[in-house]
């Protein structure tokens, strides 16, 4: 109860690249902050913006979506389609003043170190922002 606040970050990782990248970071014993909660998805193109919004709604302090580098998509073009959706969401959240709550990255299966760096950077940004502002007035759901 009294431990200092730590950001919780939901990470949607594509099965073919970023999830494997996270795996590589693990087997290579590369240290990165334990603040992320990984949700494996088939492709970054399958990440509906509503998933991201729902994660924020459920109290995540930040969201990271990561997929294959452009051109490397297992499904050829999933991440290109994803990029268009994410751009719109990014710009919209920017207008709302919540831009740094949601991050996107491209991490390949061979980039274990890069994955750890991305998580480190995202965790630091979200930590500097403080708790999710959508959680205000939420008290009924906390365990007493």
């Amino acid at each position: 109860m009294n431990s200092p606040w730590e950001p919780k970050i939901v990470a949607f990782l594509c099965h073919w690249c970023s999830y494997a990248g996270a795996d590589l970071a693990g087997v290579s014993r590369i240290q990165y902050p334990p603040n992320i909660r990984v949700v494996r998805v088939p492709c970054s193109g399958s990440v509906d913006p509503l998933y991201i919004l729902k994660a924020l709604r459920e109290g995540a302090d930040g969201v990271l979506v990561s997929g294959c580098h452009p051109g490397d998509c297992h499904y050829l073009s999933g991440n290109y389609f994803a990029r268009r959706k994410f751009l719109v969401l990014h710009k919209l959240l920017d207008l709302l003043g919540l831009r740094d709550r949601v991050h996107f990255s491209w991490v390949s299966a061979s980039e274990g170190q890069r994955f750890a760096d991305v998580v480190k950077a995202v965790t630091e940004v979200v930590r500097s922002l403080g708790p999710n502002p959508l959680r205000e007035g939420e008290s009924t759901c906390d365990t007493p």
Partner: protein, 307 residues
């Protein structure tokens, strides 16, 4: 041809079974949608600066027996028609677009300061609105979507009625002020506005492009948000809807005019439309043939925002 003549002729010659238009409402300055089926009723058809509703909404809920319908369309209604045809919700050949040039729709809430104002006390003169003999700039009575409107007359039409004079209002960037605020101030603004929402769904139901059989907001499996109008649930509803309307919003502002609480909700949709226009060179309801922005991509789409 005037609007009334055109509409009457269409009904008399049985070119259409109905004309979707506006009729005087039960309160001053209010108009309501009406489906004219009888040529004798046409004299009740009105088109004035208080027809803020987007009639294309009603094309999806026509009563039985109406095969071919004419719609009184200002620029944004016309765009909504095109967008609906593009999305295969309508057949172009069953639709007759009666284009009317639009002077911009006056936000009736802004007339509330004048107590007991009568309809005849308000007239439009060029780019000005005259209220009880005093002229004010029209732009200050229009809401954000009308102030930045690019297409006051429909782009696609079958008949363009004459007589409507379109004042040449400067096109304003209505989001500039908001964008220039620092991040915390922007969130402060949206936090306040989103918290006010009571989730009556008037904005969604007034929207010509919101026709999903089951809205994600009301879906139980999967459930994305709770029905209680808390800030976080309102956030998911409005941002989720803005994402669904990306590249589809026709920027009519009907949502904002429908909102019983006067939340400037169109801001979100206009911002999304700006992004789509700027980066994907697409505008909804402008070209029937252009591919939708999210079923296509370019390898050189913006990438700088991705780590």
């Amino acid at each position: 041809m005037t609007l009334h003549d055109a509409a009457r002729k269409l009904l008399e010659e049985h070119k259409v079974q109905g004309v979707l238009g506006y009729r005087k409402g039960s309160l001053p300055f209010r108009t309501r949608p009406y489906l004219f089926r009888d040529p004798c009723e046409i004299e009740e058809l009105v088109f004035n600066p208080f027809c803020g509703l987007n009639l294309a909404r009603y094309l999806l809920f026509l009563p039985q027996g109406i095969e071919r319908v004419a719609i009184v369309a200002k620029g944004c209604d016309g765009r909504a028609c095109v967008a609906l045809v593009r999305e295969n919700r309508l057949r172009r050949e069953n639709l007759l677009i009666l284009g009317v040039p639009c002077p911009g729709m006056v936000d009736t809430r802004k007339l509330a300061e004048w107590e007991g104002l009568k309809e005849h006390e308000v007239t439009l003169r060029g780019g000005e609105i005259v209220i009880r003999g005093v002229a004010y700039p029209l732009a200050s009575f229009l809401d954000a979507s009308c102030r930045r409107c690019r297409y006051r007359s429909p782009l696609v039409y079958d008949i363009l009625v004459e007589g409507g004079e379109v004042p040449s209002l400067p096109q304003e960037d209505t989001l500039r002020e908001l964008r220039s605020l620092p991040e915390e101030k922007r969130w402060e603004f949206f936090r306040k506005e989103l918290s006010r929402c009571i989730r009556c769904y008037a904005c969604r139901n007034a929207c010509p492009m919101c026709y999903c059989k089951e809205c994600f907001a009301e879906s139980h499996k999967p459930s994305f948000l709770h029905p209680s109008p808390t800030l976080r649930d309102n956030f998911v509803f409005h941002i989720g809807r803005a994402m669904h309307l990306a590249g589809r919003c026709v920027e009519c502002g009907a949502c904002e005019r429908a909102c019983p609480l006067g939340i400037p909700i169109a801001t979100l949709f206009l911002a999304v439309s700006d992004t789509v226009r700027e980066h994907f060179a697409f505008e909804a309801g402008v070209d029937v043939a252009a591919p939708a922005p999210f079923v296509t991509y370019r390898e050189d789409d913006p990438n700088a925002f991705i780590r």
